[in-house]
Symmetry: C2
Subunit: 225 residues, 2 copies
DNA sequence: CCCGGCCTACGTCACTTGTCGTAGGCCGCC
DNA sequence: GGCGGCCTACGACAAGTGACGTAGGCCGGG
């Protein structure tokens, strides 16, 4: 674990919809001498608003945001994009329960500076914060492995799909029929079926029901609640 | 919030696969004077083993176990059943992220003494522990509402399904075809289709793909990981 | 004992889904 | 300019799916 290059205290914003988790993270951070909890937020919207209000009051922004994915109001992927765009000085580290390849991709593509799983211990959280504050990117070992795994086989996962095929897959995972998909995407039902057939082939599946599970597993859609 | 009837310290076993969550819960509990963390476990198996080893060494068992659902090795529902059966003195309180009706039912049917959501604050956790220690059952308000809601409409949710139909629904939610379902359940494919058709009707659905989503929403199956 | 509900099973029909091949228009890259 | 990939679209066919009605055996409650 590398300490940050300067000695100043690192402000950290904790974003999670579960109070228990925020409490746990804060407990982790309290044990770190050069880290200070700069605030808490229960969802992405709150986080952005909080940063905004700090900015207008010309108060110092936290250097790092520890953020859950899967929150109401605004999820972590959206919030990351928003924060990276509007507050480039704030480095976003994802801290989430699940390692879905698709969300990992999305988060990193949106400028996340790290990705942790919630079974991480205090030292990993610390390492990720220090890395982020230093401008580095920290990936949980399990996450990195999963990412590398998918990289190696470029045509196995959802990564091998075209953007249109992903659109279709998302709709399949919402329980839509081919007809509905066609209507939503403003294409003919035949074309929708072409996309379905092609994506099933690429994923090595034989039915849309299985496709639903793959879409969930890869984090392409939220589990229904 | 009612304090426990006697003054002795309440031992609490914390069971969750996420270290951060355990840390948060422990932080909650540390603030309660008459509660003591009696141990931690990362899954149901560990929890049962820990209780077992305490028992053989004739050490006092915790009065309450705070348990997550959805853990590797042994999930919370199974673990609850096991603990209630083998260690009746230990009251199990569920503490989980999601309020799926089906799991709530399963957990309570297995003898859980409470059901909390992870967005609960410290006071709710405390109330649930005290209630459990007193022999009462504590239900999170949102959970109770959801439960009551489903009670009122006996034939809308998965509750209206026969046990065989639930079996079929679970297999549908695993992406199985009618033929596979028939093979698994050792019935004819026609019969499997009868069950499918009947359960779709009861749930007000028109395709097995939608049934997958309902099964997930109700907690009848785990989201695929 | 009879009734109701459940599980089993079949036939039939309509519809949906998935496969295969084909093909034109568009766009970006070399 | 040519080539490749993508999106669009169709025909035809096979297979899977879902709806409806029917029916026998079993079991538990009144």
């Amino acid at each position: 674990m590398t300490l940050p290059s300067d000695n100043s205290t690192i402000g950290v914003l904790v974003v999670d919809d579960h109070a228990v988790v925020r409490r746990g993270v804060v407990a982790y951070l309290d044990a770190l001498r050069n880290v200070e909890v700069a605030g808490e937020a229960a969802n992405g919207r709150e986080a952005v608003d909080l940063l905004e209000s700090l900015k207008v009051r010309q108060q110092p922004l936290p250097r790092v945001a520890l953020m859950d994915l899967m929150m109401p109001k605004m999820d972590g992927v959206e919030a990351t994009a928003e924060i990276v765009k509007r507050f480039p000085a704030v480095r976003v580290v994802i801290l989430t329960s699940f390692g879905e390849v698709e969300r990992i991709h999305a988060a990193l593509a949106n400028g996340a500076a790290g990705y942790l799983l919630k079974d991480a211990g205090p030292s990993e959280v610390a390492a990720a914060i220090y890395a982020a504050a230093n401008g580095d990117v920290y990936l949980d070992a399990a996450v990195a492995r999963r990412l590398a795994q998918k990289m190696r086989s470029p045509h196995s996962g959802v990564a091998g799909l075209t953007s249109r095929e992903r659109d279709v897959l998302v709709l399949i995972a919402e329980g839509r029929s081919n007809r509905e998909i066609a209507a939503k995407l403003v294409i003919s039902e035949r074309t929708a079926r072409t996309h379905v057939s092609n994506l099933l082939g690429k994923l090595g599946l034989h039915s849309r029901t299985q496709a639903v599970l793959v879409a969930m597993r890869e984090g392409l859609v939220d589990p229904p609640r």
